[in-house]
């Protein structure tokens, strides 16, 4: 449609609309009393839109819509004229993330503790998972809530998008205005967005019990919905999938709990051609570039954390540097997002009180957000996001008369909202003509005189003496004023005064504490004394004077840097140098050349390019390795660090569809700590809760990088299998999940591999109505040799069993991990071609390890099994070199071979030995420089390189400690000053992440 046509249509609609009779379906008890709401607001400063300001303007509204705005517009006859000299009009604000007017989801009864609920208990033809409720319709459940609406209006809002914040798919949100009429009038658009999250909410169902499970569930659901559309409906009626398809084209809002979840949601969405609107958490500035790259727009909170109470130095230790820095930098989130060019809108979500909203926005403005960007985010952007710009978000002709009238610039220090008009109906917050009473008064009651102080919110106090001030209760309306207070702090009886407000003088009658009547008066004496903070601000504004002081203010406000990852030991800037020449070290090559004394290693562009004596090339930085040992980086075949919210999807016997790769956590201090132990590559494995567990992620310990950047390029896929006590749930006395014995475990495998074979055949037929099943698809990858197994295992019977199943079903077990009885079947393992990745000396912690021996690695190795030693533990991984040395002690393995147990052999098991696992020309420069023989308990990793980047340096670490201490001190002092200045504080409270082990299986999806 051309622009002129559109304009014409708009005009016609506008005028037609005015002449139409307002008709409703409801019965009327009385005579017709619909009003036109015909108003003319004059002499105002009007923001027609966020970037179009008209001074001294008039706005005409009628029938709930804006007619015109402009200067010198003739006032039509019949309009109520409201003079707004000195006042401002803005389109009212829009909050897209609200639960306004919707009932809270009721928590369904959970099944008996620790027994699992496998399927949905929702009655009717709905989907299998109770956490998915695409069929929920907010508009069908919406009721006007006058109290809540009032709160929103007080903060300047006229419209909210509301939904029931419960579950992973929460169904649709609806856009409503914040008036108090019938729902029929308040709902602007029934279905505006599909609401999603990674929170299970009230669903009592076991699956998903982890974040990666939640991601997999959404992935499968997108596919199921597609299947349903393309023939699946012939198989079954599924109201949930039907609803999903119905709302799939709506904008989708994803509620994230932090910056990394934002990246995860965005990545998931991309797989299905979706660009979500992310409802953020306030920490987005900590991974700004990555979030920007997603192309997602955002709904952002303005809840900024309070300072911590850090007066006690020991208590303060609970609070991490990251928490302190976030306290300081959170108010800069919005300006950084705006400067990055990310489209965003604001929400009141997270605020304790709606009345804090504008204060918080002003705080963000003080921290660099432009007023225009703020107004855009509150009006234009949300309207645009929901495709409602022709109704709300600006005051162009024909739009709803949804606006606020303010005393000054809405972001000004003392701005007050006078009116909030919703669909042409006024809600008065502060009368336009209400006197501004701020100031000091001399209050005479009978023969007593008090100093009465009134602040800009009309809060009043009388001064008993310099240090004692007494609160005065007051009420002001329509020119009348009532004051009650006790004349002294000790007195319990009150003065009760009532009177009228005149210009700079109030007077009337009242009673004293003994009840006798007297007259009283209050005379204006002057403006209130300013607080320190205000004075500074004034001076800053003042032109010319106090230049020096201005600079001082600026330096007081100096903010710390954003560091990556956002925690102690994070980088301001990542190292980029990847050219080094390491001179004269003892080099453990792990190759045929063995251990070379007095040898140089040249690293160029992150790769080892030359190994030899007396290399003299001018490239990169020289490092003297005299007296030191240089090895390749340690590789941990079995690790559970750097994983967000759940290492196990414990809820089904096979969860092959879930993947640790979806939940890699780049912000885990263990990454740095393990670099300090010489680790450079880790396989992050799913736990051992089920016979067929989830897919793993192989990462390099690229500290400071994003989750995606940490992944080992080109590494093949792996999956965790598990046998024995954990999958049998032997420690649970209420297990109701098959299998409960090792006998059952075998049948799980036979069943899954049988079905996977059938699935593969069916998938190749490409018949209509074929449903992709991510669980089976992953098992097919194993059959096709595209995905390798790392199987948690202990006793010989089960190890034997799995190899038999594998032989019969025609797949390979790549690695048996833990494998503490591997020594009993090492010959069989070697024959099958399975490797063993074991603990050095763990035993006796559970029944299936009573026959574990520390000679296991030696015996497997002697039988030709590719043998590795792993950690399965965030602490032990810091000293895997020592664990390898135990193979020297127990079983007399040669030092060279023992060293391979934690380097080359795990590289082979992970099929990445062409890139890592030895020092060889062409391989990645993942190197560790030790101060001693790396197998010695006395050895320390002095420097650790990943891809030639020096990501750990013990000498530098000493400097980093000093920086951490200094930065902590700066922030503590700042928090103390904030508290002294009257800022809110909260008790010192620390954050501590979990260290996962194989058998951690608590539900991580409950809010």
């Amino acid at each position: 449609m051309s622009k002129t046509k559109l304009l014409f249509l708009t005009l016609v609609l506008t005028f037609l609309g005015q002449n139409l009779l307002a008709q409703v379906t409801f019965q009327r008890n009385g005579v017709y009393d619909e009003r036109e709401g015909f108003y003319a607001f004059t002499n105002a400063t009007i923001f027609k839109s966020y970037n179009e300001k008209v001074e001294n303007a008039t706005m005409i509204i009628k029938d709930g819509r804006v007619q015109t705005i402009g200067q010198k517009i003739p006032i039509p006859a019949g309009a109520v004229v409201v003079d707004l000299k000195g006042k401002f009009i803005y389109p009212s604000f829009i909050d897209l993330y609200s639960s306004y007017g919707l009932p809270e989801a009721k928590r369904a009864e959970r099944s008996f503790r620790r027994t699992q609920q496998f399927n949905s208990k929702k009655e009717g033809a709905y989907g299998w998972n109770q956490a998915l409720k695409p069929e929920f319709r907010a508009h069908e459940n919406f009721t006007t809530d006058e109290k809540a609406a009032k709160g929103y209006r007080g903060a300047g809002f006229g419209t909210v998008m509301t939904h029931q914040a419960d579950g992973i798919s929460r169904g649709t949100a609806t856009l409503v205005v914040l008036g108090e009429d019938r729902e029929h009038q308040m709902i602007l658009k029934e279905k505006t967005a599909h609401m999603l999250s990674f929170k299970k909410g009230t669903s009592p169902q076991s699956y998903p019990g982890s974040l990666m499970g939640g991601i997999a569930l959404l992935r499968q659901t997108y596919m199921d919905a597609n299947w349903y559309k393309n023939g699946g409906k012939n198989e079954e009626l599924n109201l949930s999938l039907e609803a999903w398809n119905e709302i799939n084209s709506l904008p989708a809002v994803f509620d994230i709990r932090g910056k990394l979840e934002g990246l995860r949601a965005a990545k998931l969405g991309k797989e299905f051609g979706k660009t979500y609107i992310l409802k953020g958490n306030g920490d987005e500035y900590q991974r700004l570039n990555e979030l920007k790259a997603t192309g997602c727009s955002m709904i952002l909170p303005v809840k900024f954390p309070d300072a911590f109470d850090v007066e006690d130095p020991y208590d303060a230790m609970l609070v991490s540097l990251a928490q302190m820095k976030h306290w300081e930098l959170a108010p800069t989130n919005l300006s950084r997002i705006a400067n990055a060019g990310i489209e965003f809108t604001l929400t009141t979500d997270g605020l304790d009180k709606k009345s804090e909203f504008l204060k918080s926005v002003k705080k963000a403005i003080k921290h660099g957000l432009s007023e225009e960007a703020a107004l855009k985010a509150l009006t234009h952007t949300p309207a645009k996001m929901m495709g409602m710009s022709n109704q709300i978000g600006s005051l162009k002709s024909g739009n709803l008369a949804n606006f606020i009238i303010t005393s000054e610039n809405v972001f000004g220090e003392k701005a007050k909202i006078h009116h909030n008009w919703v669909k042409g109906k006024p809600f008065v917050l502060k009368k336009l003509d209400e006197a501004d009473l701020e100031g000091n008064y001399s209050l005479k009651v009978g023969n007593q005189t008090f100093k009465l102080m009134v602040d800009d919110n009309n809060k009043m106090k009388v001064e008993e003496n310099d240090s004692t001030k007494i609160d005065v209760k007051s009420s002001i309306s329509n020119g009348l004023i009532t004051l009650t207070f006790s004349p002294t702090k000790k007195e319990t009886n009150l003065f009760r005064l009532s009177g009228t407000i005149g210009k700079k003088e109030w007077s009337g009658n009242g009673t004293l504490i003994d009840g006798t009547w007297t007259s009283w008066s209050a005379k204006y004496e002057g403006a209130p004394e300013k607080k320190d903070g205000d004075k500074k601000a004034d001076k800053k504004k003042g032109k010319g004077k106090g230049k020096g002081k201005k600079d001082k203010v600026a330096s007081d406000d100096k903010l710390g840097d954003v560091i990556y990852p956002f925690m102690a030991h994070g980088y301001k800037e990542r190292p980029t140098e990847n050219n080094y020449l390491i001179k004269n070290a003892t080099v453990w090559t792990n190759e045929k050349s063995g251990i070379l004394e007095n040898t140089d290693v040249l690293v160029r562009n992150g790769k080892v390019v030359e190994i030899g004596k007396n290399i003299n090339k001018d490239v990169g930085t020289r490092i003297d390795g005299t007296g030191m040992h240089l090895t390749c980086g340690v590789i941990d075949e079995h690790s559970h660090i750097a994983i967000s919210r759940g290492v196990n999807e414990c809820t089904e016997v096979s969860t092959a569809e879930v993947s640790i790769a979806d939940v890699v956590d780049s912000e885990d201090i263990d990454i740095y700590r393990q670099l300090a132990g010489g680790v450079t590559t880790s396989q992050l494995l799913h736990g051992s809760c089920n016979p067929i567990g989830g897919q793993s992620a192989i990462i390099k310990l690229r500290w400071g990088f994003s989750p995606e950047e940490m992944k080992f390029e080109g590494a093949p896929g792996f999956i965790k299998f598990a046998l024995g006590e954990n999958v049998k749930k032997s420690r649970s006395s209420t297990n109701n999940r098959f299998p409960d014995t090792r006998m059952g475990v075998e049948q799980v495998y036979r069943d899954y591999f049988t079905r996977a074979k059938e699935y593969k055949i069916a998938s190749q037929r490409k018949e209509a109505g074929f449903r992709r099943d991510l669980d089976l698809e992953t098992v097919v990858q194993i059959l096709d040799g595209e995905r390798h197994i790392s199987c948690h295992s202990y006793v010989q019977s089960e190890i034997n069993m799995l190899m038999h199943v594998a032989d019969e079903m025609d797949f390979k077990v790549n690695t048996f991990t833990h494998i503490l009885e591997g020594y009993k079947v090492a010959d069989k393992m070697a024959k099958h071609g399975a490797g063993g990745s074991t603990f050095s000396d763990w035993w006796a912690y559970k029944y299936e390890v009573v026959d574990a021996i520390p000679y296991n690695a030696a015996l497997m190795h002697e039988q030709g099994v590719t043998t590795a030693i792993n950690s399965d533990d965030a602490e032990m991984a810091r000293r895997l070199n020592q664990e390898a040395a135990k193979a020297v002690m127990y079983g007399g393995v040669s030092e060279e071979d023992a060293w391979k147990f934690v380097t080359l052999n795990p590289a082979k098991l992970l099929h990445i030995d062409h890139k890592v696992g030895s020092i060889k020309e062409g391989k990645d420069a993942d190197l560790v420089l030790w101060n001693d023989n790396p197998l010695s308990v006395y050895a320390r990793a002095e420097m650790t390189f990943v891809d030639g980047l020096k990501l750990f340096d013990r000498k530098l670490d000493v400097e980093i400690r000093k920086e951490i201490a200094a930065e902590r001190n700066r922030l503590i002092q700042k928090m103390l000053a904030d508290k002294k200045g009257g800022g809110k504080t909260r008790p010192a409270r620390g954050k501590k992440s979990r260290h996962y082990h194989c058998d951690d299986s608590e539900d991580e999806m409950i809010d």
Partner: protein, 427 residues
Amino acid sequence: MKFLNIILFMCLAWSLTAQAAPAPPQKGKIAILGATAHVGNGKVIANSLITFENGKLLAVEDATGIRLDRNSFTKVIDANGKHIYPGFIAPNTSLGLVEVEAVRATRDDREIGNMNPHIRAIIAYNTDSKVTPTIRSNGMLMAQIIPSGGRIDGQSSVVQLDAWNWEDAAYKMDEGIYVSYPSMVSWSWRTRTISKNKNYGKQLQEVEDYFTEAHAYSKNKKLSSKNLKFEAMRGLFDGSKNLYVKTNAAKSIMEAVLLFKKFNITPVIVGGGESWMIADFLKSNNVPVMLSKVHDLPDHEDSDIDQPFKTPRMLQEAGVLWCFQMNEVAQSRNLPFQAGHAVGFGLDKEDAVSGLTLNTAKILGIDKTAGSLEVGKDATLFISSGDALDMRTNHVETAFIQGREVSLKTKQKDLYEKFKSKYENQK
């Protein structure tokens, strides 16, 4: 039923494995010649002569220039190039009380109840545990066994690790009482937050009240009836028993020291993760520390990454009496390597040995007879062909407990030999 079966099966399976008999008392005189002796008090004798009779050390001296009359000894061990150490002591362990951690029926370390000073670890101590020989074969020849689980956990005892029954094993019976000091903070894994323990004040008051009453009880000459719990605590007030207080936070430690001072008790701090922050306070109050694991993660993400590695050195430099412990059962065999790791982070090697021997003995109150290679003390010692603190070289060849040469066989070595020979026979 199923559970019972598991237990029965387990007992059966384990009884099949041979367990070496405890060694008989020392007969005759034994000499060890030429080894590097790590005395335990910080001294090293490069070429040592060590002799013992009736389980007691006769001589510990420099062998240089001494011509040994070999005939006057029943046995002379030539240990040139080898190392000799006092038997290492593993304090704060449930060894012998817990066989398999995850199998409840094999656990005897946690009694029901909050205030359990009357509970005695020693009577549940299983001398036939399959774990003990694996500990012994890495050089730990004595241990302090402890109950756990309450506010007052119960009484600990020191045992030697080669015995027929707990009476034989007991070296110092019921020598102390363990208290789990209330924690000032609590951690919620669900929200990942550490916050102040809301019940802290109440929990602390309970401890103080309990000690106040027990103290008053101990002074009461006219008791109408006996209270077993308070009877058990008498030793704390007359100085015959140690008080072991498990706590880590600096503030808690100081508070605990001040609290127990009211009862004239100087506690032993067990754990003391943050003890390095208040080392001067500990020193000036003569408070010893049984230090938490060296192989541990730092408390906070802001902490120095090597904090637990360097804490022993920091305490040593500050002059605090401290020793190593792990509070583990099967993993206790790695205690010497924890000491070695601390050496890697600056602790003197011989100070590390003291942290496994004499310091421990001093803290446990057994240093008159144990803990170092000094004349008159027990001949509880072992020979390693290499450095016993380094897994790269450690190999314990011979061990004596009170002069008795003890077996170094373990169930694990048996299994190793069994399967090694299986594979050898296949060739």
